[in-house]
Every structure is written in structure tokens, then in C-alpha cells.
């Protein structure tokens, strides 16, 4: 093809993606010093990187593909339970991790297959039901799961000589997961897969006319999201070292992930991670002040964002930026 000869205006997406790649590397590099800068806020640090990774994973299906999952806690819980129960049964750690991922991918495949064929809100409806069924089963199947008292994971063999209960070790594991999640988002943003996901989100019929197989594309994205989320679930299990069905399968947990993505911007590379940072810092900073009002404020934030800033806060910022530097005359120095 003669494409090399024609000077092509690079799509903004490519530029945005390059910028995001730089931003991710810089952010990960900065975060790598976190345990040295804030050695007394490691719990916050672990939950920050962990939730940033989970929100980014959620966004693969929720933001990019527009399939609103209100049940991602199902993967957090199933991952955490599979890993923990296998660890307690002395299964090697890598195998337990693999099993956790496999279980979640299988769940995603079945659940996606049932609901993605249907138009409309069925996926969102079913997402709540799936997490709820898992919660009820874990709650009642005491001989396997420990029932409502939950399971504890107090002894884990060291990983490459590192104590897994050391918050610093957990932090770097979480950071690694965040890196992987962000890289997945980066890949999606600049690949055929990402275009297909967005096309499905924007208009599924139109996407099909262009050769996109919606069921397949959504399933792949959902499975990828589930796999990342299950790894996050394993780490969450280690971090808590004790958990119960009520906690890991909670609707609140799922909603938190959604909220982080909304606040940061659904379907953006770094938005969900940014949303996690904003939300968690807000929560931690005002923990003693907000008290009962935090969920109310979440609700108000959701309503306001959906109403006035449907692209999320980062989308809002982006648009402001575009208004200041309109389309054709984008100055390269603006970034």
C-alpha cells in the first residue's frame, strides 16, 4: 500500500495513548517510592494500588465496552476464596493463583455467555444476582468456606524469601498488578480490540455491520477483566488475612469500583486509577468527618457526574482542554 507516502494525521487516540504511557511509567516510578515516603500509611498504600488495579480491570468491560457490571465483587470473592482455600489445603501458591484465575474466567465465560446474547439491561441485572448467589452459597456451605464466620489465612510460605504479610511486599505486588492492569488498558486503547469494544458500547448494531462479533469481543474483554480482578481478589485476601462472604461479595464493593471509574472517567486508560486515588484519599482524609454521609455523597456524585459530566472528571478536564485549544490548531506544545 502507498500509505507510507500519504502524510497521515495521527489520530488523537495515538497521541493520547503515548501521553498515557509516559504518565503510567512516571506514576509507577513515583509510586515505587511510596513505602519509603509514607512508611506509616502502608495500609492506605496497599488499598490504593489494589483498588486502582481493580477499577482499571472493571473499566475494561464497564467503561470500554459499556457493559455495566454491578457484580465484580463476585470475582474478588471467588478469587480470594479459591486462593485461600487452596492455600489452606497446602496447594502450591502458583497453582492456587492459577486456579483462582481459572475459576473466575470460567465464571465470566458462563455468565457472559448467558447475558451478552441478550439486549438491554440483562447483564447489569444478572451481575447483581451472580454476586449475590455466590455470597449466599459461601455463607451456607460452611464445610467448604467456613460459612459466615469467614476464612482466615494466617500462614503463608514466604514468596522468594519475602514475607507476604509484610505490607511493603503486598504494596509492590499490588503495584505490579496495577501496572499489568494499566498496560492492558493501554493495549485496549490502541488496538483493534479497543475500537471494537467502544463501537459495541456506542452502537452494537452499527458495530455488527462493520464485522464486529459482539458476543466474542465482549466475552474476551469480560474474561480479561475477570482474570485481573481475581488476582486482585487473591491479594485482597492476603492483605485482609481474614475475610467473610458478607465482605468480599458485597454490592458495596462492586459499586465502589464502578464509582472510581465514573469519577475518573469510564473508558479511559488512567481514569479509573485516578478515580481510585481521588476517592480513597477523600475517604481516608475525611474518614472521621464524613461518618454516615459518605454513601450519600457517593450517590450525589454519581447523579451529578452522570448528569453533567458523563465522561467523568478526566473527560471534563479533557474537554476543557480541548475548548482552550480547539481541534485543528492543536499546538504540539500544548501537552
Amino acid at each position: 500500500m502507498s500509505e507510507a507516502a500519504t502524510p497521515v494525521l495521527r489520530s488523537q487516540r495515538v497521541q493520547r495513548r503515548a501521553r498515557a504511557a509516559l504518565g503510567i511509567c512516571a506514576a509507577i516510578a513515583v509510586l515505587a517510592f511510596y513505602p519509603f515516603i509514607l512508611p506509616r500509611a502502608l495500609n492506605f498504600g496497599v488499598s490504593l494500588v489494589l483498588f486502582a488495579a481493580l477499577a482499571t480491570a472493571w473499566d475494561l468491560i464497564g467503561g470500554w465496552a459499556g457493559q455495566l457490571s454491578l457484580g465484580h465483587a463476585a470475582f474478588v470473592g471467588l478469587g480470594a476464596y479459591t486462593f485461600t482455600l487452596l492455600q489452606r489445603a497446602q496447594v502450591p501458591m502458583w497453582l492456587a493463583l492459577l486456579a483462582a484465575v481459572a475459576a473466575c474466567v470460567l465464571l465470566a465465560a458462563v455468565w457472559g455467555f448467558i447475558t451478552f446474547r441478550l439486549r438491554g439491561a440483562y447483564f447489569a441485572l444478572a451481575s447483581i444476582a451472580v454476586a449475590e448467589v455466590l455470597r449466599i452459597v459461601s455463607n451456607n456451605w460452611s464445610s467448604l468456606t467456613g460459612g459466615p464466620e469467614g476464612v482466615s489465612l494466617q500462614d503463608l510460605p514466604p514468596l522468594f524469601g519475602l514475607d507476604l504479610y509484610d505490607r511493603r511486599v503486598e504494596f509492590y505486588l499490588g503495584l505490579a498488578l496495577l501496572f499489568v492492569a494499566l498496560m492492558s488498558a493501554l493495549y485496549v486503547a490502541g488496538s483493534r480490540a479497543g475500537f471494537y469494544l467502544e463501537a459495541i458500547r456506542e452502537d452494537q448494531d452499527s458495530a455488527m455491520a462493520l464485522g464486529v462479533n459482539p458476543l466474542r469481543v465482549k466475552l474476551v474483554a469480560f474474561c480479561a477483566s475477570a482474570a485481573l480482578t481475581s488476582l486482585g481478589g487473591c491479594l485482597y485476601g492476603i492483605y485482609l488475612s481474614f475475610f467473610e462472604p458478607q465482605g468480599v461479595y458485597a454490592l458495596d464493593l462492586s459499586i465502589q469500583l464502578v464509582l472510581m471509574s465514573i469519577v475518573g472517567g469510564m473508558g479511559t486508560i488512567t481514569g479509573p486509577a485516578l478515580g481510585a486515588l481521588v476517592l480513597l484519599a477523600f475517604q481516608e482524609g475525611f474518614r472521621n468527618l464524613l461518618q454516615q454521609r459518605s454513601l450519600l455523597i457517593y450517590g450525589i456524585v454519581i447523579v451529578l457526574v452522570v448528569r453533567y459530566a458523563p465522561d467523568g472528571l478526566s473527560g471534563r478536564v479533557l474537554r476543557l482542554y480541548r475548548r482552550l485549544w480547539p481541534w485543528p490548531s492543536r499546538s504540539p506544545s500544548a501537552s
Binding site: 451472580v130 449466599i136 451456607n140 450517590g299 447523579v303 452522570v306
Partner: protein, 290 residues
């Protein structure tokens, strides 16, 4: 379980199922006309319960009588939410609409939490624990009354839908919004009205359950989920389907619990829900729309 116990169990399942049906009808009506799944449906119901509770506590107003206050309040609240929050984004992507209702639900339940506290509240009326015996089967008076009122409300709804201009407009809009608009139906108004009516049904169901149950600010979540189950069992958008779906859910839960799997009671409905999605997504009871 012996035979009498079984009959007793089915009977109380039917009575509870009637109220589930009313919650489901509201959800289904809203979906049928507006294509919006109201994720705040149960939370509206909780609001209804608290209004009745507050009236009872402050003025000793009988909870059933408080329907007179709750119904118009529900209509206004629903119409307000529709006009101010849903109408402006009605052409937005589906996930935005869902999120909006999720947000509304969070606001409602947490406002209740701030106003009334997390503490569960019960009202105790003279008939709270009264029963009537039909042969060897005893039935709860509050549940019987609730069921009877449900029947009346639903019958009223059917009359409105079939005998009034508004009802005809609603049915036309449910079948095809564009076509209805061409025939001169003010679909904007119809949508507001439908959301209002749907919320009235949900809040009325809350009031009817109050004498038999208790209320706490997050009770709505449970009922939102039940309403989903009811409507999916019956077919999204189908009112008749929602009635059968409600009764079926009531009986399934009741019999399941009576057979000794109390802990899994909520799972029965949800598993049925997922199975229906897999096998018969249009619902078990055909597609007799609005």
C-alpha cells in the same frame, strides 16, 4: 412437613407473592414504556415504608390509611425524579441511565439513614399479630389485608390502563414510542406519568408490608433484587407476567424455606432468575405486554 403445614406455607407464599407482584408491576411498567431498569425501585419502597412509619409514630395514623398520603407523595416524587434527573439524559447510553438510578437509590437510602438512623423500626398495631383460621390453616391478618389491597390497587391500575386516555396513551407508548408520538401522544408526559405510577406502586407495596415487617434504611436493596427476579420471571415489560412472577417467587421462597433450606431462600429466586435468562429470556409467562 405435613399436609396442613404445606398448605399453610403455600398460602403465606401466595400472600407475600401478591405484594412482590405489586413491586414488580411498577418496575415492569416503567421498563415497558421508558426502557429504563429502575435500580432504585426498592429504595423508593423503603421511602414509602418510612413515610407510613413516621405518620404512625407522630400521628398514630393507621399504616393502611397512610396510603392516602403515600400515593400522591409517591407520584410527585417519581415525577420529580423523572423530570429532573432522567428526562435530560433519556437519549444517553443505557449504562448512564442505570447509573443514574443507582445513584438515586444511594441518595434515597442514605437520606433515610441520616433521618431515621440505622436502627430497624417496627410498628405495633392491634392487628399486627392477629390471625384468622380457615380450617386448620391460620393466616396473618396484616398479610391478608395487604393482599386484598394489592388486588384492589392492581385492578385499579388495569382500569386506568384500559379505560382512560392516559392509559391508552401509556399502552401506545409501550408498544412503540415513535408511532405513539406520530399519533399525537405526548410521550414526554406519558413517561413522567408512568414513572410516577411505577413509584406509587412500589411505595404502596412498602406501606402494605410495613405492618407485617420492619423497616430499615437499606431494606430497599433486597426488594430491588426481588423486583428484578419477579419481572424477569414474568418477562420484562409485561404486567400480567409480573403478577405471575410475584406469586411464583413468593411460593418458591416460602416452600423452599419450609422444606428446610431457610439459608438458601434468597438464592432460589436468583437462580431461577439466571436460569430463565439462559433458557427463556422473554420470561416464563409469554410476552403479553402492557
Amino acid at each position: 412437613m405435613d399436609l396442613i403445614g404445606f398448605v399453610q406455607t403455600v398460602a403465606s407464599g401466595v400472600l407475600t407473592g401478591g405484594v412482590y407482584a405489586m413491586v414488580g408491576i411498577g418496575l415492569s411498567l416503567i421498563f415497558g414504556v421508558m426502557r429504563i431498569v429502575n435500580f432504585a425501585h426498592g429504595e423508593f419502597m423503603a421511602v414509602g415504608m418510612y413515610i407510613a412509619f413516621a405518620l404512625f409514630r407522630s400521628f398514630h395514623l393507621d399504616p393502611y390509611l397512610s396510603l392516602v398520603v403515600v400515593a400522591p407523595a409517591g407520584f410527585l416524587l417519581g415525577a420529580f425524579v423523572e423530570r429532573v434527573l432522567l428526562a435530560p439524559i433519556q437519549n444517553a447510553a443505557e449504562h448512564s441511565l442505570i447509573l443514574m438510578t443507582v445513584g438515586v437509590g444511594l441518595i434515597l437510602s442514605n437520606s433515610l439513614l441520616l433521618i431515621f438512623g440505622a436502627h430497624p423500626e417496627t410498628i405495633y398495631t392491634s392487628y399486627s399479630t392477629r390471625t384468622v383460621a380457615i380450617g386448620p390453616v391460620t393466616l396473618s391478618v396484616p398479610l391478608l389485608v395487604s393482599f386484598a389491597l394489592t388486588v384492589i390497587v392492581v385492578a385499579g391500575l388495569f382500569l386506568v390502563l384500559t379505560r382512560t386516555d392516559l392509559g391508552r396513551a401509556i399502552r401506545a407508548a409501550a408498544q412503540n414510542r415513535d408511532a405513539a408520538e406520530l399519533q399525537g401522544v405526548d410521550t414526554r408526559f406519558v413517561q413522567t406519568a408512568v414513572f410516577g405510577i411505577g413509584i406509587v406502586l412500589s411505595m404502596a407495596a412498602g406501606v402494605l408490608l410495613l405492618p407485617a415487617l420492619y423497616v430499615f434504611p437499606t431494606v430497599g436493596g433486597i426488594f430491588t433484587l426481588k423486583a428484578f427476579v419477579v419481572t424477569v420471571l414474568g418477562g420484562m415489560g409485561s404486567i400480567v407476567g409480573a403478577i405471575w412472577g410475584g406469586l411464583l417467587l413468593g411460593i418458591v421462597e416460602s416452600v423452599g424455606a419450609g422444606l428446610g433450606a431457610t439459608g438458601y431462600r434468597d438464592a432460589f429466586g436468583l437462580i431461577a432468575f439466571l436460569l430463565v435468562l439462559l433458557v427463556r429470556p422473554q420470561g416464563l409467562f409469554g410476552s403479553s405486554h402492557v
